[in-house]
Symmetry: C2
Subunit: 492 residues, 2 copies
């Protein structure tokens, strides 16, 4: 604690890495690419989980749990999906260790304990879940089947970064089955909407809803909906995806249902997920050079109270007043922490809470007691004011809503001012390099053009926005006819 962060201007990437560690959110572990999520970071994740879980249940979904492992033969059943994930699979090949005869006290894999069939550690659970759904679905009465799972998954990424890209991460994955194509598409759209609502209202991060191009789609999906956010360095971040899977998995795992009319058909599927990656989006959207900035909805402690005292007697008198404040705030459903540790000085406590993004800090000393005031400091604006004790409760309650709104507004203004329409490829490159953000440009719809632009600029098509009134035009790269503008950006 106390070490000054690299500034965003100096080195954004370094700033992020330092912030995650210094604010006690997460750290690298002894396992390549796997992180440890520290208590403070996990507490924020728990708040996200609780709200998402509530939203999933409200929309009729039920939680269940499926195996961590996928037998190789199941994994390869849906070919596109298998192909998409094969290159980054952790594979269990043995089920026992034994003493190493050459190294006393050490263990080695027991060569006699080789599995007949290798097990893939789930990179995503479509295969194992659809092999299970086969047993759950017989008739229209079993549909829609609306399942969600909270789980860990493993994708052996070569370049990892805390929260943004880790070999193991935590997520939820929804898997649903429906009678008709239309119902499945409606579900995929509904859940993309749930994600957008959650990320905007709860995390205060504005997002653009859109569809992925074919080359950016989830392996095995017919359509991939997404929500795209913009970070402070002008790079985009995919914050969640919702897939319409067609009948691909139903066919791969032979999942049919009998309709009310007695007709047999394959069911239609969706899957959708958000992960601990959202923590990265949260950090990079709101935080500043002094550390984390948390929207009140996600702050483990919304308010921290620091007593300023010289003697035990003073602390005691202050604590009496603080207890009343705490009681008042808790009655208003505001979480408060009283930081009365005697092992740290007020200055160190201020620095820590600033670094950790506690939305409001109340400091209270002996002079405050005399004047019946407290000092109130806002983390988002870094402003301080002296407040009369009698008005504190109302003030704090109002500020919770205000700060949540301010953070969203600030992020929205930044995002909106970083969507630039361009007409030529020169303009495209200049804006990308000099300004960053989303570039709204016409595209001829071909994967070839998409690839070439990516090769030259490193920008990808983040999405084809659902809200679209751009009309037709000419492709920014080839000049061929284009039906609509799409959003390009460099991305995390």
């Amino acid at each position: 604690m106390g070490k000054k962060l690299t500034s965003r201007a100096e080195n954004y990437s370094k700033w992020y890495n330092e912030l995650v560690v210094e604010a006690d959110l997460a750290e690298n572990s002894a396992v390549r690419g796997c992180m440890v999520i520290k208590p403070y970071g996990y507490a924020i994740w728990e708040k996200m989980q609780a709200e998402l879980d509530r939203m999933f249940k409200e929309t009729g979904h039920q939680n269940a749990y499926f195996p961590l492992f996928v037998p190789k033969s199941l994994f390869e059943a849906e070919e596109k999906n298998a192909e998409g994930f094969a290159k980054e699979c952790a594979v269990v090949t043995h089920y026992r260790l034994q003493n190493d005869p050459d190294n006393p006290g050490k263990l080695r894999v027991d060569p006699k304990a080789k599995l007949e069939e290798e097990l893939v550690v789930r990179p995503t659970s479509e295969a194992i879940i659809w092999s299970t759904f086969k047993g759950w679905i017989q008739s229209y009465r079993d549909l829609p089947l609306l399942i969600n799972q909270w789980a860990n998954v493993v994708r052996w990424e070569m370049r990892t970064r805390l929260f943004l890209r880790t070999a193991e991460f935590l997520w939820q994955e929804g898997h649903t089955a429906h009678e008709t194509k239309k119902q499945a598409i409606t579900e995929a759209e509904l859940m993309n909407n749930v994600y957008a609502t959650f990320v905007e209202n709860f995390m205060a991060i504005p997002v653009i809803q859109g569809l992925k191009t074919e080359s950016e789609r989830f392996a095995g999906a017919d359509k991939t909906y997404c929500i795209e956010a913009l970070m402070q360095d002008g790079k985009a971040l995919q914050a969640g995806t919702s897939h319409f899977l067609g009948q691909n998995f139903a066919k791969a795992f032979d999942v049919k249902y009998t309709s009310k009319e007695g007709k047999q058909d394959y069911v239609w599927a969706t899957s959708w997920g958000v992960s601990t990656r959202l923590m990265g989006a949260l950090i990079m959207t709101h935080s500043d050079d002094k550390g984390l900035v948390l929207p009140p909805n996600l702050a483990p402690n919304q308010v921290v109270i620091v007593p300023i005292y010289k003697s035990e007697d003073q602390l005691e008198t202050i604590t009496e007043v603080v207890n009343d404040i705490i009681k008042d705030l808790r009655a208003r459903n505001i979480s408060v922490k009283y930081d009365n540790r005697d092992t740290y000085r007020p200055g160190a406590k201020f620095a820590q809470h600033e670094l950790q993004g506690v939305p409001l800090r109340i400091a209270i000393g002996s002079r405050d007691l005399e004047n019946r005031t407290v000092e109130l400091a806002r983390r988002d604006t870094l402003t301080k004011e002296v407040i009369e004790l009698d008005t504190l409760g109302d003030k704090v309650e109002n500020l919770m809503t205000e700060i949540q709104g301010t953070l969203f507004k600030k992020a929205l203004d930044y995002r909106n001012s970083h969507i630039t329409e361009v007409e030529t490829f020169e303009e495209f490159k200049t804006v990308l390099e000099e300004k960053g953000g989303f570039i709204s440009a016409h595209w001829d719809g071909s994967a070839e053009t998409e690839d070439k632009i990516k090769e030259i600029t490193k920008a990808t098509i983040r999405c084809m926005p659902l809200e679209n009134s751009s009309g037709s035009g000419k492709c920014v790269f080839t000049g061929r006819p284009s039906e609509r503008r799409v959003l390009f950006a460099k991305a995390y």
Copy 2:
């Protein structure tokens, strides 16, 4: 649904297996030894999690998340622990699949993607967590460190049974570090107490708190506290354990702290866990030949309401009354499900809810409307009565407490009448075979005697009860002096 269960008397084990599947709690998966926890079973587990999590936080613990994988070199650092788990470890050796040139469309492990160091899928997390704690603990100010993790773990068991013993299971594992031996022992006892309180008050399962003998201890622990429950077939089930780990892991991972006085020493540790195995204990303690019986605290739906109607008009009138009932019950914090599915008949619904253990069923038909009554059926006693609508809310609210108490009392009576003191080994064997349950007997304290008794009878020492007033005596097997009685039983 509708298939009659094998009775407990006929085949207890078969009854259990059928019940778990028929009541929609869990099923076997395509992965050997791994289960799928179905939505209804998972909803019960979520209730357990929520209550335990609340209790952990109330006692000062914080959640965090550590990697799924443990590098082999870390895994083997604490030798006893490594030795204890080596034989049942799933091991990741490769990180990529590739197209199988011999089998088009199939995949195989890419031989070039072999890991330099194998990764063990965590069977328990002491090793990875203590390698992390080393970075978190410098001084007394960092202690006590009170961490909990909700996670999946894998132990490659040869004989598996749904919930009771599965290759992958869900659990929580607490890991704490303390300044003194005494503080660590107090923590281990506290958490064993938390488990006992939870299992008795929340799950309505009476338990005996005790210490394990050396041979039954957790690998790497100096003391293992446990809670032991008794199932309806007279077999014991270990429902939770809490370990005092001494300085074993601190030494293996070199975790020292500087005291207030500036002295360096290794920290003292505990770990403690309960798992989805508790689902097995729940099922086997309360259920009957008709299916699951759930204590109200754990029932996803505490009350189900089934309308009995012939016409749509009737259903509409009934639904109006039902909506008032639901409103009343929800205001009392009682969870209610209105089963108005038109795809099933009342008889099928009754059977399903009985099988799934819904504590109270309310049936309401046209005649009830006229009389302002409903039919109320209790799952635990299988009794029915007609209740006046005006008194229903109070009645149901009281029954929630009453049923919870009745189930505990019934299980306690059964358990207490199945603790038998024996003086001779003949008696020991007779009671074990004819009556089952816990056998309270003197034991000379040697592992040899313990082993021999196990070999001959298959009974193990479940625990040395913490509450103990048995006094000294002679070992039931060797006749040697014994300091105290211990509890033997056959166990799950």
